[in-house]
Symmetry: D3
Subunit: 224 residues, 6 copies
């Protein structure tokens, strides 16, 4: 195991651009309802969105030394995804880091902690997905890993996986299945436009799914 | 016990309209500080309000089949109130459901889970009260109950009870006491206008309540 | 122990004004990363800020009698800091209290509970830092303490300590070290302006801190 | 609504005795996996069991006045089920109450709070199911309801419903379906004896359920 | 402020011995239901008890350097009370520390974190009150304070205050009121023996408190 | 990605036997304080221990179909490690599963959910590490993965990694570093015997670490 991996496969720009049209919910559904980073990792401000390849980082709790190695090697368009071990009351990322991430051209940042200096992040237009606000400061003492697979939000994220974030939170799309998921999600989103149109015209899911019949088969005697 | 109840008593339109002027806090106070669905069930976006009769629904966790039965039989003005067993990390309601609820003319929706596709909900103007954002998808396999009494947010909600929601959350007003509570709440809100006016003119609650005297009776020797 | 203390040392107006330029994050860092009231005590609406001397109050849970004694004796510019024992699902402060706090000229309010009638608080421009929305009502039966040291948000707050709040939450600066912390925080904030400028010009924290060298000394063989 | 209901239907002694052989898990399964009071309400000490008709009680938070009315009217064999609004950090029941419950001949007690003086409870052999230990004291000021339906542990409990508790927690069996559930649960428990025997003899659930075939139908190409 | 205070007032041995007869619940009640460290700080194994003067210590999160200073200066009979900032997932105290605490003759230890190597603690008979088991390791880098007032479990603990622990958790008795609280608690415990005797003889709290009459005065028309 | 992997590298029996002498705390320390599955995954009964190669399994929440595939292919000595997505209120494993796991010769089981029928598990001597008791039942509908890397307890577990459990919880030792960690942990445990002996003879960590000197270098003027 190398502590810092510089060379790994990344998605094409075309793939990233295509995923920008996919919602977190759609991607999640098309991966058998998996790979969602949960309710705790939220856009720092409503309306934030991000889509890009993961630059992964594991830090010791309350120690952001490793994160600065990740920022050092990250490339424009990267989504830096950092775990600090799951305790949200840490503030390892603030206005200086926001400035640096913008200077590096990062697409955005995902952390399983709080973030400080929120106003700056909003003003500078850097999409940050995190567990809210915390100022609890960090030290720089121990080194974890950069671009190794990490566990964050109950999911495994590998370097180069596609990270998608919107108002519903964050989903990871493993790179090896990304092309397939893209197609499924595009189809699903197209289908949903039609469903919504049918709903507006008076149909509903109960009728369209023929669930009265289904429940009868379950042995239920419903008045509908 | 019928799994789906179609016939139940509902409040008059006049009663609903009158309750629109009542805040969640006032209604709660006038019911002996009861019937509040707690801090976890919140407006999906600030400023959302709702008032209407409950259309109740109990689903299995991670299974929204029954909710679609409720949507099938619900009437304009209804507030659909759905419990999925208390785990907030479920996203059984998204943009398709929002479209359908608007098409059905529902007043709004209350769930003890997360909701997905939040932007749509906001754009379409459907008041949703829930536990935040979650995309965790659901299946359609098992049938619970519609318009039976349910337990949600630590309270019992019966079909036809009045559901009131504002920035402070949600309160249920049992239909059998609704007329009485309305009167009490109207009086309370009128009284509070006077209290606030007296506060602006230099009085305070300590003085108005004569609490120095009260504390003296408790045996406390306060310097105020 | 006196239940109500009327006489205690307060910071000068100059000191308060100077602290208005300091962020919660900076103050926290300059106190060895201490005295932060945690992630749960948040501005009631984004953008709220406060800075002033603490008027401390300990209430019994679900009983706001003592808070009204604190409001009775508080002075313009005070930040009323009230603990109700740590259960957030209490709504001891609402629109009447907001009106009163404004009439008294308070700088703001900090509570370890929820607050009700949020819209009023926002409209009236009173900075409130709390644990969100709750309407759960309170009684007036038992008396705690006013202007004794209290434990809130995992920190000790003494009357006259400086309370600083912004989008990141709340920090308490003990009065006896406030002058010293002010100087350190001013220097830190000046230094950070330079750091951010260097970041914009292509440097990063990894390089500036010479962390490649540091990690080599730890025995790590990194490719950076 | 009567605040105190003295007259309600209760299960027969035979029914109660028969349910003593049923586990909480079996009863839950036979009610479509419903009516479980959740992971937070636990036996105060391992090994505690209870089975009896519910004597329901709703108290104000931190106020146990109503509980003493319930204890006043309760009968031998009753399981007193009390909600205090869901905050576990309350200790409304201690060694005096344990003594009283034993003197009254209660079968046991279920609360959604902590309990104090645990050693006594254990020594006196009163089955208590609760949220752990808390000494946080209560007052006697306001009156709730006795033998009205209550919401506790996310479920509705009505007076006379059967309450079953073992090491897995508590389940409520609505009286109107109790005979039916008993039969189903007895059958299920008999079936499970056979299943376990088959497992000991080398079969497993995958094979017995023919799940390789099932997965093939789902379109999965598994090597098993 | 001195970081390490060596000289502070301690309770007499007689006072400590007398408090050994007092339960956590009784002490809490006699301090107006205050000073309880909450449900999260529990005996590491059931049956553990402690009573002694507080040796207070504030550590940085995940850093137990300061705790070793406290252990260095602590005296036989001391109860070391350490806060690590409130995140329970830390294991700063294990079998080596247990050995040391026993060698120093400490009465026991209270921490707002987990503890590791639980079996040792049990075997060696050191009463530890903490938030459960955690192995999450700590470093030794920064120095906090020893024998300054600390905030732990939502309470203020000063050096020399009496710490009482039993199966119900931990309560702090401020030294300046300890004599008074002792007398009240002794009386309360004597009274409770009589109450329990009356309960065993057929009386109950509802009748002894004349609560039917009380409720009539509240305007309630109860059938009891 | 294969949904079910049958062929993967496993540790030797000698390595497993050697790790039986290592505590969870020691292993965690020797992996730079990493790979601990956290405070929530606990031995189902105190005193349970396990050590063996991971048989990994990812199930859909509330659906244990995949777990039965894992049980079908598991070998004697395996530790089955199953994630159900992180919600502890699920009871996918009960007395039938315990019987089956024993019949298969499993070393033990680790789940991020509750377990039901606890008494059986204890009686049959199967080490189970889980999040407590839950009876909430599961279905068998969807298939996840067996022997793919999974995320559980905030860590990545790969098939064949060594799983170690004792009273402090569970740690995962990646197979590729297991030999190295074993040596370090053996040395650490030997060293700790000496440290404890020195503690018993009057030394302490403060003195042995020369921390007075260290703090002087930090600029602290301590009286010790």
């Amino acid at each position: 195991m190398d502590r810092v991996v510089l060379d790994y496969k990344k998605p094409s720009k075309e793939l990233i651009e295509a995923f920008r049209e996919i919602s977190v919910a759609s991607a999640h559904e098309c991966m058998d309802r998996k790979n969602y980073l949960g309710m705790s990792i939220r856009p720092f401000y409503p309306g934030m969105k991000l889509c890009g390849p993961a630059l992964t980082c594991q830090c010791q709790p309350l120690d952001n030394l490793t994160m600065h190695a990740a920022m050092h090697i990250g490339k424009p368009g990267d989504v830096m995804v950092v775990t600090f071990g799951g305790n949200p009351n840490q503030g390892p990322f603030g206005d200086c880091c926001t400035t640096l991430a913008k200077a590096k051209g990062f697409e955005g940042v995902v952390l399983d902690t709080g973030v400080r200096d929120g106003a700056t992040a909003k003003d500078m237009g850097l999409p940050i997905f995190c567990c809210g606000h915390s100022v609890t400061g960090t030290i720089k003492k121990e080194f974890g890993t950069v671009n190794n697979p990490i566990s964050i939000g109950g999911q495994i994220v590998k370097p180069g996986d596609i990270i998608l974030g919107d108002d519903d939170g964050v989903v990871v799309i493993p790179l090896e299945i990304a092309e397939d998921i893209l197609k499924k999600a595009q189809k699903r989103q197209a289908d949903e436009i039609i469903i919504r149109e049918r709903f507006r015209n008076g149909e509903d899911a109960w009728g369209m799914g023929n669930y009265s019949e289904y429940c009868k088969k379950l042995g239920l005697n419903l008045p509908i």
